[in-house]
């Protein structure tokens, strides 16, 4: 196998996925914030709320389109760059992706057009329903994508079929209610809400600093701070839930995040700070918080969390067990129905470790001929690089806690201090606009880099998952993506800034001429006088 192709495919996936996730969190959160604003408009009938809906809706649109465009890359990349992966797990992994299209993306994409073009053609309540459907659609989208991703982290409800050389689904409900997927979904969606809240807060703070659009900005801050506070709390609590599910399904990832080399007596301590050294398998200058890790990872004081060295030894055992499965597999595939029952039984006993035997394919063509040294190397490969995980995780957590403080402070000012915001706080709100994106990217980095060397944990190694491509093909597409994405990024940021500077526009819907025409249209459409036409 060509390791350059593996590394280039990984690089391409990392770049396109992280780029895609620049737009997704804002879409998730802003769709809900806009829907909340429009709900207030429909309930109170005050035009300022319609103006807010349209203004934030415009920014939502600029962002949304790039989320859609870069999302297509994600779906197609599995087949293009990861064809063995697609074959090997498509039976399980494909289903949530397809259901995402059926249940969520269709909804979101069909109604987003009406959100922008429907103001004149729909009654107020109808338009509100459309906006909520867009928000619900994008959030459901995240649900199915995270069910798919959760399965890569914790592959439940499936088993290997030697006849088809792939994983096949045995229980859709286990895939659906995979606790890793559920915890990740709520954590990710809440992170999206925080991102949007920080964005709305920051932009509004910038208006207040310049004393522009004060009415709009203050109300927006009120929405952003309350919505953001709830979401920021939920991110941290549900992040803890993720840690708990990682504690029983992805022990190596958890140990790497903690740079926990040796198994500690329960309850393990949490390393607040330190400099992990992978060669010496030691963390220098470590500051520990006693008990914390044991509580987060196991919710008990007596359960041990295994350290990296112990997990490595377990991996070596599983490689040896996987080799028995691999050997039996070749016979089973050859003899099919006529397979000797003893071989079949041997295969079934060890088939859960088959993926570990594949780790050896990196070193030699026939894993059965592996030497002890090669098996040791393959076992060592199961340890991800520790320091990037250690640090990315800590940056994410620190930012997560700081969002709670930020949102709580603004919520307090908005609720109890009559919206009197000190200038330093407004400046701070502007400066921190990019930070939720950093936290979100760090989170994905921890989840996916921490899964290495697997694409599907314990089932399929990353190195085996790639397509049969040449380095030149990958370089062409990689260069293409980088060029494209850079240009689009510049264009997007430029337009965002232009529309933020411009601020809310004078709405034609506020003119008499428009109102008259709107009423006329609605009447001629269904023959009735509309019950809800903006006539302020």
């Amino acid at each position: 196998m060509d390791l350059d192709v593996v590394e280039l495919s990984r690089l391409q996936f990392a770049l396109t996925a992280m780029y895609h996730f620049l737009f997704v969190p804002l879409t998730l959160g802003l769709s809900v914030i806009v829907a909340i604003m429009e709900t207030v408009y429909v309930m109170t009938g005050r035009p300022i709320w319609r103006q807010m809906t349209k203004f934030w809706g415009t920014l939502f649109g600029i962002n949304f389109v790039l989320g859609v465009a870069t999302g297509i890359t994600m779906e197609f990349q599995f087949g293009m760059n990861w064809s063995y992966y697609s074959h090997y797990v498509g039976d399980v992994f494909g289903a949530p992706l397809a259901i995402e299209g059926l249940m969520a993306f269709f909804l979101e994409a069909t109604f987003v057009g009406l959100f922008f073009f429907g103001w004149e053609k729909l009654s107020r309540v109808q338009h509100l329903v459309v906006t909520w459907l867009v928000a619900i659609g994008s959030n459901f989208s995240a649900l199915w994508i995270l069910i798919a991703n959760g399965w890569m982290q914790n592959p439940v409800g499936a088993e290997f079929n030697p006849m088809t050389m792939r994983m096949e689904m045995t229980s859709f409900f286990e895939v659906l209610f995979n606790d890793v997927a559920q915890a990740k979904f709520v954590h990710t969606v809440s992170a999206g809400y925080v991102t949007a809240a920080v964005f709305v807060l920051g932009v509004s703070a910038w208006y207040l600093l310049g004393a522009r659009h004060v009415e709009l900005a203050r109300r927006s801050i009120a929405v952003a701070a309350s919505f953001g506070l709830a979401s920021a709390l939920s991110v941290v609590v549900l992040g803890d839930e993720s840690g708990y599910s990682a504690g029983h399904s992805q022990k190596m990832k958890l140990a790497a995040i903690e740079a926990m080399w040796e198994t500690e007596p329960a309850p393990a301590s949490f390393t607040l700070f330190g400099l992990p050294n992978q060669e010496e398998r030691e963390t220098h200058f470590a500051i520990h918080i006693p008990w914390a890790m044991g509580l987060i990872g196991t919710r008990s004081l007596t359960t041990e969390i295994p350290g990296i060295n112990e997990l490595e030894a377990q991996a070596e055992e599983r490689i040896r067990s996987g080799l028995i499965a691999y050997d039996a597999l070749l016979t089973v595939r050859q003899d099919r129905e006529a397979t000797d029952p003893a071989v079949m039984a041997r295969f079934e006993e060890h088939s859960d470790d088959l993926g570990f035997a594949f780790l050896l394919l990196r070193y030699l063509e026939d894993p059965r001929e592996a030497s002890d040294a090669e098996i040791t190397m393959a076992a060592e490969d199961t340890i991800p690089k520790v320091w990037p995980l250690f640090w990315a995780f800590r940056i994410m957590v620190a930012l997560g806690f700081s969002f709670i403080a930020l949102m709580a402070y603004f919520f307090y000012l908005a609720s109890f201090k009559g919206m009197q915001f000190p200038r330093w706080a407004l400046r701070l709100a502007v400066i921190v606009i990019p930070t939720p994106w950093i936290a979100a990217e760090m989170g994905w980095f921890v989840a996916e880099f921490g899964r290495q060397p697997w694409t599907v944990d314990g089932v399929l190694p990353t190195a085996l998952s790639v397509s049969h491509l040449g380095v030149s093909e990958l370089l062409i597409t990689l260069a293409g993506f980088i060029t494209f994405y850079t240009v689009l990024f510049i264009v997007e940021i430029g337009l965002m800034l232009k529309y933020i500077r411009k601020g809310p526009f004078m709405d034609v819907a506020e003119t008499d001429a428009w109102t008259a025409r709107h009423e006329h249209r609605l009447r001629t459409h269904d023959g009735n006088v509309p019950d809800a036409t903006p006539a302020e």
Partner: protein
């Protein structure tokens, strides 16, 4: 749980063959006119306001339409993982070109009218042209290559391998027959786009579109006929050496396939399938007639039927093959040996039966709300328009 045993595996496989066909046709019928309109844009609209009128005929719906394609890709992944794995990596650079077009197109719709500069807008107009024309062409080229067989083979581990350097692979796709099918696909969607403009636009735009569509309609018919003739005399078909097992495990290597004979044998085995190409011809002819008589709705209706007929022709002619291998015919993917497991096909069917009617209902509602021609005032009045 054995609920899925209620529907036999081989029946489910045929049902999924129909459903994937349904999704691809759904894509061609809806996003097809978006691509046609994009291709026509620089030619039917000269001034900025004309162009905005054209863009806004598809502005509110292209996003939903494009989901047919995304869902088609997702459904192929879920229902035919081997096809998804082999074709997307095998047509690598072609897929990248489609991706590039599909990335640029949404952005062009959304961003084009957000700045005043003429250069900015003209650039995005050509991006819309490419975003329509390039995928329309490549989809047809892909079909042409599938009919001829693709040079891949599967190892015993079912790892998909491809023959030749990547230059040969990419340029090999652009063979004469595939270019012909590419041309049919492009001209078919141009005609469809013009038919849509007839329904949604007015005046000089429609007049220009009509003139182009008469020509593209004739090209479609001639190209379709020529491709049929070519299939009859110049292209080898594929068939099973023995009667295949239709409900066995999905392993393409377990059946023997021979290359030789003609695809058109299908028309003696299943004579009724002649309906599909007949509908392709008749529909296109009627659409051209509709253009001449300026009957917009009729043109659009017949154009849809023509697309239905032409795409079905490919599927029905090849059945049960979905991706034949020219390098190693035994690796060919067919309906019987390239599907998902029984359980996955069943679950996906249940999901489709629940959600597809809902999708069709709300899509219909959205089209109803947006019914009517896009006028100049619509574009200039609404600050949200493209």
């Amino acid at each position: 749980m054995t609920l899925h045993d209620l529907i036999a595996y081989d029946l489910l496989r045929v049902v999924w063959w129909l459903l994937i066909g349904f999704l691809l046709i759904g894509f061609a019928l809806t996003d097809g006119f978006d691509m046609g309109v994009g291709t026509l844009l620089p030619f039917v609209a000269r001034t900025d306001i004309e162009r905005r009128m054209v863009i806004n005929t598809v502005g509110p719906v292209w996003e939903g339409n494009q989901v047919w394609f995304i869902l088609g890709g997702g459904a192929i992944f879920a229902a035919w993982p081997p096809l998804y794995a082999v074709s997307f990596s095998g047509f690598y650079l072609a897929m990248f070109a489609i991706l590039a077009a599909l990335i640029v197109r949404p952005v062009a719709f959304k961003y084009r009218s957000k700045r005043e500069s003429t250069r900015w807008r003209t650039t995005w107009d050509w991006a819309l042209f490419a975003g329509g024309a390039v995928p329309a062409l490549i989809f047809g080229v892909a079909v042409g290559n599938v009919l001829q067989g693709v040079p891949f083979y599967l190892t015993d581990d079912l790892y998909a391998m491809y023959d030749g350097s990547f230059h040969a692979k990419f340029l090999g796709l652009l063979n004469p027959f595939a270019l012909l099918t590419g041309l049919v696909s492009l001209s078919m969607l141009i005609t469809h786009g013009a038919a849509w403009l007839g329904v949604k636009s007015e005046g000089v735009i429609v007049a220009r579109a009509r003139r182009i569509a008469v020509v593209s309609g004739l090209v479609t018919m001639a190209g379709f006929a020529l491709a049929g003739l070519w299939l009859a005399v110049g292209i080898e078909g594929y068939s099973f050496a023995q009667t295949p097992i239709t409900d066995g495990p999905s392993n393409p290597l377990q059946s023997e396939v021979i290359r030789g004979g003609s695809w058109l044998v299908a028309y003696t085995e299943r004579p009724w399938i002649i309906i599909a190409p007949a509908l392709g011809f008749f529909g296109t002819a009627q659409a051209i007639r509709g253009l001449r008589r300026q009957s917009e709705l009729g043109t659009f209706f017949w154009s849809k039927l023509a697309i239905l007929g032409m795409i079905s022709t490919v599927g029905l002619t090849m059945f049960p093959f979905i991706l034949p291998s020219s390098k190693d015919p035994n690796s060919s993917l067919t309906v019987w040996d390239a599907s998902s497991s029984h359980l996955t096909l069943f679950i996906m069917l249940v999901a489709t039966l629940i959600f597809m009617p809902i999708i069709l209902a709300y899509t219909a509602w959205v089209y109803k709300v947006l019914w009517g021609k896009v006028t100049e005032a619509d574009v200039t009045d609404a600050p949200q328009s493209y």
